[in-house]
Assembly symmetry: C2
Homo-oligomer: 272 residues x 2
C-alpha cells in the first residue's frame, strides 16, 4: 500500500514524547502538527486519518475509534490547565475560556456547575489577548501558554487536573489518538504505542530541546513530561473518561450514545 497514513498531532510540549519517533518507527506515517481545535476539524473532513484530538471531539463526532494504550492524561495536578480566579469557586460569576481549549473548557464548566453549583457567564479569550487584561472573575488557560502564566493579580489558581482528581478520585484524559471511520491502519497501529515507549526514554533530550523553543525552563519541562503528564490509557484512565463523558452529556456538552471503541485491525477486516 503506497498511500501514506496521514497523522495529525498538536504542537504542544506534552505531545512530543508521543511523536518523537513515530515516523521513523512507521515510514508509512506522514505527520503534521496543528492547534487542537483545527486538528479535530481536519479529522472530521478527512484531511487526516488519525488525530491526537481533545477527547470531547471524539464524543461530539461519535464515529471514530481510539488507538489503545496511549493518551495524554494526568493523575492529579496537570500544571497546564489552570483556572486563574479573583474569587473562590462558589463566587465565580464570569469566566473567559481560552480559545484553544475544548475538552478543558468542558471540564471547567462541569466543575463550576456540578461540583460548585454555579452557572457563570462564559466569554471567549482569543489566543492573542493577554489574560491579565480580562475583566471576568476567572480565566481558563491551557497548554504551553498556560505554563508560562503566573498572573499574580489573580488570588486563586485552580489546577483542573487536581480538582477533577480531588472530586472523582480518577485520572483525567485530555487527548488520545482517534482514527477516522473506515481507515485501515494496516499494521502501523502498534507504532503509536512503540513511539510512546521510545519517546519516554528520551524525555531528557526532548525537554532540553523544546524548552529552548518554548522559552521554558528545561528542568521544568522534564518534570512536566516525566512526572506530571501520564501517557497510559489504562483501566483507571478509561473510568475517568467515561465519567467525564457522562457529566458532559448531563450538561448537554456532548452527544449522547457514543461509546469508546478501540481500533482493531481484525474488526475492519471482518466487516469487509
Amino acid at each position: 500500500m503506497s498511500r501514506p497514513i496521514r497523522v495529525g498531532a498538536v504542537n504542544y510540549l506534552n505531545a512530543r514524547p508521543l511523536i518523537e519517533d513515530l515516523e521513523s518507527l512507521a515510514p508509512e506515517i506522514q505527520l503534521s502538527l496543528e492547534v487542537p481545535s483545527k486538528l479535530a476539524d481536519q479529522l472530521a473532513v478527512a484531511e487526516i486519518d488519525v488525530g491526537l484530538i481533545p477527547v470531547i471531539e471524539y464524543f461530539r463526532a461519535g464515529s471514530y475509534s481510539v488507538v489503545p494504550e496511549v493518551a495524554i492524561a494526568s493523575r492529579g495536578a496537570v500544571l497546564s490547565v489552570t483556572l486563574f480566579s479573583r474569587k473562590p469557586w462558589p463566587r465565580i460569576t464570569s469566566v473567559a475560556l481560552d480559545e484553544g481549549s475544548r475538552t478543558s473548557a468542558t471540564l471547567a464548566r462541569i466543575l463550576l456547575h456540578k461540583r460548585y453549583g454555579v452557572r457563570p457567564e462564559y466569554v471567549s479569550l482569543p489566543l492573542n489577548q493577554p489574560a491579565e487584561e480580562v475583566s471576568t472573575d476567572a480565566v481558563l488557560l491551557i497548554g504551553d501558554r498556560a505554563m508560562h502564566a503566573c498572573l499574580p493579580g489573580f488570588t486563586y489558581a485552580y489546577d483542573l487536573g487536581q480538582e477533577w482528581q480531588d472530586w472523582t478520585s480518577l485520572p483525567f484524559v485530555y487527548a488520545f489518538w482517534a482514527v477516522r471511520q473506515g481507515v485501515d491502519l494496516n499494521g502501523v497501529e502498534d507504532a503509536f504505542r512503540q513511539a510512546k515507549d521510545r519517546g519516554l526514554e528520551h524525555v531528557g533530550a526532548i525537554a532540553q530541546r523544546e524548552s529552548a523553543r518554548l522559552g521554558l525552563d528545561a528542568g521544568f519541562c522534564r518534570r512536566y513530561l516525566n512526572h506530571i503528564i501520564q501517557y497510559d490509557l489504562g483501566p483507571r484512565e478509561q473510568a475517568g473518561l467515561h465519567h467525564f463523558y457522562a457529566l458532559a452529556c448531563e450538561l448537554g456538552l456532548a452527544r449522547r450514545g457514543v461509546s469508546i471503541e478501540y481500533y482493531r485491525a481484525n474488526a475492519l477486516v471482518e466487516s469487509r
Copy 2:
C-alpha cells in the same frame, strides 16, 4: 517579654509562603534564613528557638516539639527531589547524594533498599559540583538546584515524592517547624499557621518575585507553590511521617523511640 523568638527557615522557594508574613504577624519573631543542614545545627546549639528543619533531624535530635498544622509536604510528585539515573532502580549500584539533602537522602536510601532491594555505594555530591559530571549510576538532587536540572544524559528521572506515594499511598513530609525544648512561644505559635494561610493567598506575587531571583519561570514557580507543595500537616501527612520514621529506624538512619510531640503552650505552663 522583650527577648525576640529567633526563627530560622530555609532559603528555598517552597518555604516562602510560610515566612512571607511571619514577622508582620508576630513582631516578637526574628527571622533568619539558612541552608537546611545548617539550620538543624543552629537549632541543636540553641542559636535559634524554632527551625523549619528537615524531618529526619527531628528524629535524630529527639528533643524537639512540632508546630501543629504546618508542613512542607507533597501528595505525589514533588518536582524538587529527583533521582536522576542512568539505570532503572533495580540495577543502580552507586548513588551521589546532594550535600544539602538529609531527609531526601534518607528517603532515597529507603526506596533503594526497602522497595527495590538494592544496596548501592553512596558518595556525597558537593553543592558546587555539576551533577552532569558524576560517574555514579544515579545522582540525587534536591531543592531549587534540582528544579533547574534537566540532565538529558540520564535516561531516568525518578521523583521521590511520587515514588513514595506509589509505594505507600501516603503523602511525604519533608520539613516542619520544630521548637527547641524549653522554649516558650508565648502565644506566637498561632502566627505560623496564620502566616501559611496569608502566604498562600499571595502565591502569585511570591512566584513572580522569587522566579526572577532563582532564574526560574514564574508560571512554573506558581504551579509548584500552588499545586505541588502541600503546606498542611493533617492526619494523612502524619501517617506518612510515622511510616517514614519507622523505615528510617529499620535502616539505622534515625534513633529509635522518638515520638512526634506537638507544641502546646499549656503543657509548658503545667510543667513549670
